[in-house]
Amino acid sequence: MSEFLEMGSHGFYVWTSYAIFFAVLAWQVCQPVARHRRLRAQLIEEQALRKGNYEDEAR
């Protein structure tokens, strides 16, 4: 196992690369998800204000 992690002394370069790959892609996924959630929350809030029944349960 440790031999696998070492990658013939290139472990640092290989694993940092794969970490960057997944970190950037995770960020790419999280960004639109967060934006969509924020939009949804804003719309629900606006709707509640319009109807005049502002309650947390609407969330």
Binding site: F4, M7, G8, S9, H10, G11, Y13, V14, T16, S17, Y18, I20, F21, V24, L25, W27, Q28, V29, Q31, P32, V33, R35, H36, R37, L39, R40, Q42, L43, I44, E46, Q47
Partner: protein
């Protein structure tokens, strides 16, 4: 048959239909990406033997090369969408062109950083002002420029049209990146995989590369749809379909 295709295409132009359709398609794209990437990475990290010259560091190439291809492919796709934006002004195309920029920038960033991490043990340096490396850095700046220009306009449809012009101007960089290894033979090696003609890479190493390449294409499609439907809903936030579908209690985003 032709009529059916035409009707389906026009339906996709409707924001509400596009929102629903992409929402149903997304889980399948994620499943496909997960499967392809898992198999590709398993092969890349466990199955293929070390390279006789580069040792294990060449395993970085299984994410570096697909990302580089996808960074360029995203630009070409974005350019086609930019032409549609400028000629026919189809709003979905506008939005898809604009949200492609951050995705392309992400792939370019992965390409540059993994390339540097591969370069250190192989070339002995993280960075050099080599033609391929420099033109790829320029691509990143073009992506950032497009994002900045689009964001600078209050009227997003106008911003999309102006940014589309910049996209088409920046397209000149794509052949430069592609041929840079032939025009200037400074540091980055030439292509070892060819669509036409014989590849000079060992066949056992090609398989994971193909899986990872298809995986990044599927990933681009998934990220594109995710961002497009959010942008679409945001632009149409005062419209009835958004109130029903996005904020409604029945339909979940």
């Amino acid at each position: 048959m032709w009529q059916k295709i035409k009707v389906a295409f026009h339906k996709l132009g409707s924001p509400a239909y596009f929102y629903g359709f992409s929402g149903r398609l997304l889980p399948w794209l994620w499943i496909a990406f997960g499967g392809l990437a898992a198999w590709g990475l398993y092969q890349a990290l466990f199955v293929v033997p070390p390279d006789y010259q580069q040792g294990d560091s060449y395993r970085i190439l299984f994410i570096h090369v697909p990302s580089a291809w996808q960074a360029m492919m995203t630009y070409v796709t974005m350019s086609v969408l930019a032409v549609i934006t400028l000629v026919w002004r189809i709003r979905i195309a506008e939005i898809m062109a604009m949200v492609s920029a951050p995705i392309g920038a992400a792939f370019t960033l992965i390409c540059l950083t993994t390339g540097a991490l591969w370069g250190k043990p192989t070339w002995g340096t993280y960075w050099a002002w080599d033609a391929r490396l420099t033109s790829m850095l320029v691509l990143l700046f073009i992506y950032l420029g497009i994002m900045g220009l689009y964001a600078a306009f209050e009227d997003r449809r106008k911003g999309a049209r102006v940014a589309s012009v910049l996209i088409l101007v920046g397209l000149v960089n794509i052949p430069i990146i592609h041929f840079s290894v032939e025009w200037w033979t400074t540091l980055h090696q030439g292509a070892t995989i060819r669509l036409f003609g014989e590849s000079t890479m060992d066949p056992s190493m090609i398989e994971p590369l193909i899986y990872m390449t298809i995986a990044t294409k599927v990933l681009y499609a998934a990220l594109l749809l995710m961002r497009s439907r959010t942008e679409l809903a945001d632009q149409d936030r005062r419209r009835a379909w958004v109130r029903q579908r996005v904020a409604g209690s029945t339909a979940r985003g």
